[in-house]
């Protein structure tokens, strides 16, 4: 490989535009993982992070000295501030999940996550570490480019159209790199340990009672099977750390990795670790394949949400065009079809002319405009069901008053 071809490959890998759908999906799953972690910590929040926690702040600073990104060191050490941090963290994680002010909230989530981890390093597992390092690189990623409130706002303001713009994936690549390191470094550590090489490691692990979750079949506890499973772990960790970059075998490896982590989730008590790691698998799936899978799901389930509704709008009106784009972005199950009056193929007629400057919806009971149109649209678009509920209650209330 020449320097020139290396540079070209480097640029292609880190900078060639690609769909932001995988990183946006990762943002959603990552947010859910952070929320789940927080909710699991909730019952003992004050025991770990309160002013009279198991490990005091001065002790922690004594064991791990030096400046750190840790909000606990700047906030007053009181119950109020410890509780406030929890709620701010939770709210920010929720905002990150829905993609509202995604960049700002990725910074806040990272700050809070780093803070609680730095506050007590003695209760962390590998999943926590992965969330932290992935969260660092998520700050730099175009995580709000799809599936986000931010995108809807951009569409509403006319800064973005219906198409999702391609983005540079360098931050996504760093999270992928971190995931492969989890496996590859894990593999390197394991081959340095005699129990892993001789095949007895899992025999020890499956005899530690505190690690057991659900009972495993007795045949699995046979020393020969455990020996094979130990070596299989080594092979798989190496493959997921190195061979996953080979496109042709990637999906097979991801499928085996998924099965492996689900088995661990069933049998070993390390809450959230498997899910935290699995969350990043989505980054290795091609956006086109994600789209195809989603289309299949949409085609199978979409019809359950009602008949397709036709929305007629005048594309020469900036406002109506934005509304149509917005509805198109929210309508993830394709229950709406759009007709632009400017389109030569659009059916003509006096009713069409009436739709100028207004959004009109075709239903089997005739055309609808105004709130009725909104209600009809909301009834078939799952993300707008809360709006449908409010408008239906309002309509019912009006009928009763009348």
């Amino acid at each position: 490989m020449t320097a020139k071809s290396f540079l070209a490959a480097w640029n292609e890998f880190f900078f060639a535009d690609q769909s932001p759908i995988p990183i946006a999906l990762f943002r959603v799953i990552y947010g859910v993982m952070v929320i789940a972690t927080l909710l699991l910590l909730r019952p003992d929040w004050m025991a770990w992070y309160g002013p009279h926690a198991w490990v005091s702040l001065p002790t922690m600073q004594g064991i791990e000295p030096g400046p750190r990104l840790n909000l606990f060191t700047v906030l007053p050490e009181t119950y109020f501030w410890a509780q406030a941090l929890f709620w701010v963290f939770l709210a920010s994680a929720a905002c990150l999940t829905i993609g509202f002010l995604a960049r700002v909230n990725s910074v806040v989530v990272y700050l809070c996550l780093a803070s609680i981890q730095q506050r007590n390093l003695f209760i962390l597992h590998g999943g926590d570490t992965f969330l932290r390092v992935a969260g660092f690189f998520l700050i730099f990623a175009p995580a709000g480019a799809a599936f986000s409130v931010d995108r809807l706002i951009r569409i509403w303001r006319g800064r973005e159209g219906a198409e999702i713009r391609l983005r540079r994936p360098w931050a996504q690549r760093m999270i992928q790199f971190e995931l492969t390191l989890v496996y590859f470094v894990g593999f390197c550590w394991k081959v340095a340990g005699a129990p892993w090489v001789e095949g007895s490691a899992l025999s020890y692990i499956y005899h530690v009672d505190e690690l057991q979750r659900f009972p495993v079949p007795s045949w699995f506890l046979n020393p020969t099977i455990l020996k094979l499973a130990t070596w299989f772990t080594l092979v798989l960790e190496f493959a997921l750390g190195v061979l996953i970059w080979i496109k042709e075998i990637r999906y097979y490896l991801l499928a085996i990795g998924l099965f492996f982590h689900l088995c661990l989730e069933y049998s070993l008590n390390v809450p959230m670790f498997q899910w935290d790691v699995l969350s990043a698998y989505v980054l290795f799936i091609d956006a086109g394949d994600l789209q195809r899978v989603w289309n299949r799901i949409r085609d199978r389930t979409g019809t359950h949400f009602g008949e397709q509704v036709t929305v007629i709008y005048d594309g020469s009106s900036e406002r109506l065009r934005r509304i149509a784009n917005l509805l198109g972005a929210i309508d993830i199950f394709s229950r709406l079809s759009f007709v632009d009056l400017r389109d030569a193929a659009a059916p003509g007629g006096a009713r069409m002319k009436a739709a100028r400057d207004k959004l009109e919806v075709e239903t089997e009971f005739g055309p609808r405009q105004g709130l009725d149109a909104v209600r009809t649209v909301a009834s078939v678009v799952p993300l707008l069901w809360p709006v449908y509920l409010v408008l239906s209650i309002q309509k019912l209330f009006k009928l009763r008053v009348a």
Binding site: N11, F14, F15, D17, L40, R42, P43, D44, A47, W48, H52, A53, W54, V55, T59, G62, I63, G66, P67, R68, L69, Y110, A114, Q117, F122, G126, T129, R132, V133, F136, R168, W170, F177, L181, V182, Y183, V185, G186, C188, W189, K190, A192, G193, A194, P195, W196, A201, L202, S203, Y204, I205, H207, V208, D209, E210, Q212, R213, P223, N269, P271
Partner: protein, 210 residues
């Protein structure tokens, strides 16, 4: 370069440029060359990528060379500050090979005693296992002698617990109980006999209960 009649600049090739000095389209061409980024942005991102890729590898790869150790020491302030420190040595190089747990033996002012147990995973329900798993990890850390600095805090915390504080605790002793997983002659593994020892004793001070 010379000034044109309109105040713009003319390059040596005679092409008129903007007042900023670049020909129209030249800027777009430069941006396309750097994937839509300005040159300084492209350089900065590459520096960021190269630094972090090498630094993270250097930090977490289990290499024992003096050079890598020196690099780690240099990187340490940035890694611990930013939260990028990481290790991926789950169950390795040696997996856990003992069942172990911890209890606190509390001596009260009136001479009575009580034993306070830390949550033990094998005795919890599934939902409790999820939310209390941190205690498993914490106990693992506390039982490690190299974390002896944690012991006074743990003993103080036990003394402060509502169910302990009311009785007037005088002394808190931390007790480790463990049973090694042993390989038997036929190649199977079994849990060994239980052993125990008091690894820390703390005299409770009045201010601890404030």
């Amino acid at each position: 370069m010379v000034k044109s009649a309109e105040g713009g600049q003319v390059s040596r090739r005679g092409k008129e440029t903007r007042p900023g000095g670049r020909a129209p389209g030249e800027k777009e061409l430069a941006r396309a060359q750097f994937f839509g980024l300005k040159k300084w942005q492209y350089i900065a991102i590459n520096a960021f990528l190269i630094f972090h890729t090498l630094a993270i590898c250097c930090w977490c790869m289990p290499f024992g060379s003096p050079f890598i150790a020196a690099c780690r020491e240099t990187l340490r302030p940035y890694f611990v500050w930013s939260g990028l420190f990481q290790s991926w040595d789950m169950f390795s190089p040696l997996p856990k090979s003992a069942n172990a747990y911890m209890e606190a033996l509390v001596l009260y002012q009136d001479g009575s005693t009580t034993i306070w147990s830390f949550p033990r995973m094998e005795q919890l329900t599934l939902t409790e296992k999820y939310s209390k798993e941190r205690y498993r990890k914490f106990m693992e850390s506390v039982l490690d002698e190299k974390n002896a600095m944690l012991w006074p805090d743990v003993a103080r915390h036990v003394a402060r617990l509502p169910e302990i504080r009311g009785g007037g605790p005088r002394k808190v002793m931390l007790v480790a109980r463990w049973s090694n997983v042993v390989r038997q002659e036929d190649g199977t593994f079994a849990r060994g006999p239980w052993d125990e020892h008091v690894f820390y004793s703390y005299d409770v001070k009045p201010e601890d209960l404030q």
